[in-house]
């Protein structure tokens, strides 16, 4: 058995739940004021939804910019303890004195992993790649994604007991694979808890009239990000799932399930600009492609209006004011046909496209997995404003927002609403400030032996197995 690198009980100042952009920001902000933070992530790597994006809006830079610097800030800060593959089982206590029971799920790969990839080559078993929405496969031992932190392989628990995994065990020359790893329970003591559980896209299969899941060439906005990403299933080629042909004429269906009392009653505030962003990068990569955007109200708040105005001038981008009511399919070529009325011209059209992208909204993860301690949620499952007496929400756990808002929000509190990336960052920063207000005792040195152990291994990170 490899050595366990963290204590069974961690004393900390703030526990941050959720390792996406908001949670990372909150943990960093907390640690950079000299307090200790435990950053807990359910998946095998930090990064959350942002890591799946091809580009941020409006600057159209890849998520590596922003993520990289944050990962570095985490890596060099001994006050942050990162727990991946971890879940909160229970939290008790009150502001100033919380105790969380946490289960650490087995990664089956220990800290000796150098991400050399020998195990992957030896592995025969394949699994659906959920990071790419099942568009391709990975081996049963895989690297979560290129920016993975910790940069370490992980084994799908479904296959850990499979006899064929023995080959991977043999292939690893560092002794990093431990197929008998078991889940472990640990405790984290903290003065404050920041909840940055993030979001998931609305399930487009519930929109029966839009044909997602029925017609192969109807995809969603989050899937589009994977198609466009150079690390995605098509290495950046935007192709039709039915015949792998590159697109020439594509349509965006705004408010797919949003502002709809039968689906998501609210506006997620990011999908309009996200579609415009996708239109912009498609235009760049496929200058001949024709782009149609069907909207109810093009919502590009604040300075994003400039981005919208620029795109409106583009001769290949067509904005149609009117929601797509239904999508059918041309059975010969599998082209989706979108039906909509353009309310500005009073014409109803059925437009045949190569591919249709449903701009689905953000559903807070707190809807299905509410935070502990009876944290008050609003009607849609976001952490309610003013509910910060106990758990402090940050990022898209409080409202839909973009990345930058999320970072700001996390700085303020660390996880309460849906937002785009920028909103998410702002919100997270705000959350961190709120959390710090609850930390009353004087600053203490990093107290856990795990951190120093890792340091002696010359890996300057405090990462749980």
């Amino acid at each position: 058995m490899a050595e366990i690198k963290i204590n069974d009980s961690i004393n900390s100042d703030v526990l941050v739940v959720g390792g996406g952009i908001a949670g990372m920001t909150a943990a960093i902000e907390i640690a950079e004021t000299g307090r200790r933070a435990v950053l807990l992530e359910q998946k095998a790597s930090l990064g959350g939804q942002v890591a799946t994006f091809h580009q941020y809006f409006p600057k159209l830079c890849p998520p590596a910019c922003g993520m990289e610097i944050n990962l570095k800030r985490i890596r060099v800060n001994p006050l942050i303890t990162v727990l991946t593959l971890s879940q909160v089982k229970k939290i008790s206590g009150s502001p100033g004195a919380y105790e969380a029971e946490i289960v650490l799920n087995p990664r089956f790969v220990n800290e000796k992993c150098t991400a050399c990839g020998d195990c992957e080559k030896a592995c025969e078993i394949e699994r659906n790649n959920d990071f790419n929405y099942g568009l391709d496969k990975t081996k049963a031992v895989y690297l979560p994604h290129l920016m993975a932190y910790p940069l370490r392989y992980v084994i799908d628990p479904k296959f850990a007991a499979d006899e064929r995994m023995k080959k991977c065990l043999a292939a690893c020359k560092y002794g990093a694979i431990e197929l008998d790893m078991k889940p472990r329970n640990i405790r984290v003591k903290a003065d404050a808890v920041v909840w940055a559980a993030g979001w998931k896209p609305y399930d487009a299969a519930k929109l029966d009239q839009l044909g997602f899941g029925k017609y192969p060439n109807v995809i969603t906005n989050v899937i589009m990000e994977r198609f466009a990403s150079l690390s995605g299933p098509t290495a950046g080629k935007i192709t039709r799932p039915s015949d792998a042909k590159e697109i020439k004429k594509i349509g965006f269906v705004q408010c797919a399930g949003s502002r709809d009392d039968k689906h998501l009653a609210y506006c997620s505030t990011v999908c309009c600009t996200a579609s415009m962003k996708q239109a912009a990068y498609i235009r760049e990569r496929y200058p001949q492609a024709e782009i149609h955007i069907f909207y109810i109200d093009a919502r590009s708040p604040g300075r994003l209006e400039d981005f919208y105005a620029k795109l409106q001038k583009d001769s290949k981008v067509f904005f149609h004011r009117g929601k797509v009511g239904k999508i059918t399919e041309n059975p010969q070529n599998k082209n989706p046909i979108v039906a909509a009325e353009n309310t500005l011209t009073g014409e109803r059209r059925a437009l045949e496209l190569d591919m249709a992208v449903l701009a689905t909204g953000m559903v807070p993860n707190t809807l299905d997995e509410p935070p502990p301690l009876n944290t008050a949620l609003d009607d849609f499952g976001f952490i309610a404003p003013g509910a910060s007496q106990g758990i402090i929400g940050a990022g898209t756990a409080v409202r839909p927002m973009d990345v930058s808002a999320s970072v700001q929000n996390a700085t303020a509190a660390a996880a309460v609403r849906p937002m785009d990336v920028s909103a998410s960052v702002q919100n997270a920063t705000a959350a961190a400030m709120k959390a710090l207000a609850l930390v009353s005792r004087p600053r203490q040195p990093a107290d856990n032996a795990g951190v120093s152990l890792l340091k002696s291994d010359k890996t300057p990170e405090a990462v749980a197995v």
Binding site: D261, I296, G322, G325, E341, T343
Partner: protein, 338 residues
């Protein structure tokens, strides 16, 4: 800005729309999902999105001369997919109801139909007329009931013909008067609709009118448009059965009179006679249509109360109003929606 015009909403009209089943009209935010999901809405100036705007803004005159409200088959795909629960299907029904109320001649009949309290009276009126005819024919002498039953002794054919033939002609004339009022309304120029309304072909030639008429009759006979409905598809078959049931019943009555007067085929017509077959077959069609189980299954999910009660009200209307007033229930708020 010199083109700016002031429109004044007719608040009374909005209240009437709300009262007649369109209570959610103001929830509309003009996304146009309704116009896109509708299977019969045309490519140019589709409905019901523009009607939702006009209704919400109380533009009564515009709606009264809007032919599109009569194209609607109330299949309710729009209502199902409306993201705001504004129920365009019900709003259009409420508009039609208001038009009917407004143009009916004599006007008090329109108002009576609009008022649920008048319904018992409306049902009672023809019963009283029939009872009076029976009384007039028999003078209160019902001794013939002891003999072999002959229906014509209760109400002789000559009485029926003397009353109902002129009655039907009068009804037709009154309907025509209402229709003329409506037609005159259509011709009034207005702010919103260009006049004359542009036709898709751009021409109003005889050929176009004939083609249109042929297509319309064909669609009526096959219920093609109604069968394109997604949500309320089962209603198409129910309606088709009732529709041919009533046509058959009307044909039977007419043939029976002709057979009696021209060929002295006195009733009761023997069971083996084709006219009898036609009559019985029509009755079977009508009843099958009214009690079509699909009628209920095809409805979108409402509260349980609505599901239980309203189809029955619909059947009541079908039973009572259709034969007695030759008024079909479409002009009334659709009981299937809630």
């Amino acid at each position: 800005m010199e083109n700016m015009q002031t429109i004044s909403p007719d608040l009374e009209f909005i209240r009437n729309i709300k009262k007649a089943g369109g209570q959610d009209v103001k929830k509309c935010y003009q996304c146009a999902t309704c116009a896109a999901v509708c299977s019969i809405s045309p490519a140019q100036q589709p409905f019901p999105r523009k009607e939702m705007l006009l209704a919400g803004w109380g533009q009564k005159d515009e709606l009264f001369k809007d032919p599109d409200i009569w194209l609607c088959h109330q299949c309710n795909d729009c209502t199902i997919y409306c993201p705001r629960g504004a129920k365009p299907g019900d709003v259009l029904a409420a508009v039609r109801f208001n038009v009917f109320e407004n143009f009916a001649f004599p006007s008090f009949m329109g108002r009576a139909l609009a008022n649920p309290k008048a319904l018992p009276l409306l049902i009672l009126a023809p019963m009283i007329i029939i009872a009076a005819l029976i009384w007039g024919a028999t003078r209160g002498d019902f001794s013939f009931l002891n003999e072999k039953i002959v229906y014509s002794k209760l109400l002789p054919h000559i009485w029926i013909e003397a009353f109902f033939i002129p009655g039907s002609i009068l009804t037709a004339l009154l309907a025509l008067a209402g229709l003329l009022r409506f037609w005159k309304g259509l011709e009034t120029p207005s702010l919103w609709t260009p006049h004359p309304r542009p036709l898709p072909q751009g021409e109003r030639g005889f050929r176009e009118v004939l083609d249109g008429a042929v297509a319309t009759v064909k669609d009526l006979l096959t219920h093609g448009s109604l069968r394109d409905c997604g949500t309320n598809k089962p209603r198409a078959w129910a309606h088709l059965l009732v529709f041919f049931g009533f046509i058959g019943a009307a044909a039977t009555a007419g043939l029976a009179v002709l057979a009696m007067r021209l060929f002295h085929l006195d009733p009761p017509i023997p069971l083996a006679h084709p006219i009898k077959w036609l009559g019985n077959a029509s009755a079977v069609l009508g009843i099958a249509g009214i009690f079509n189980p699909g009628l209920k299954a095809g409805r979108h999910s409402c509260s349980r109360l609505h599901n239980l009660l309203l189809p029955h009200r619909h059947r009541l209307f079908s039973f009572v109003l259709c034969p007695l007033f030759q008024v079909c229930p479409h002009v009334l708020p659709d009981p299937g929606s809630c």
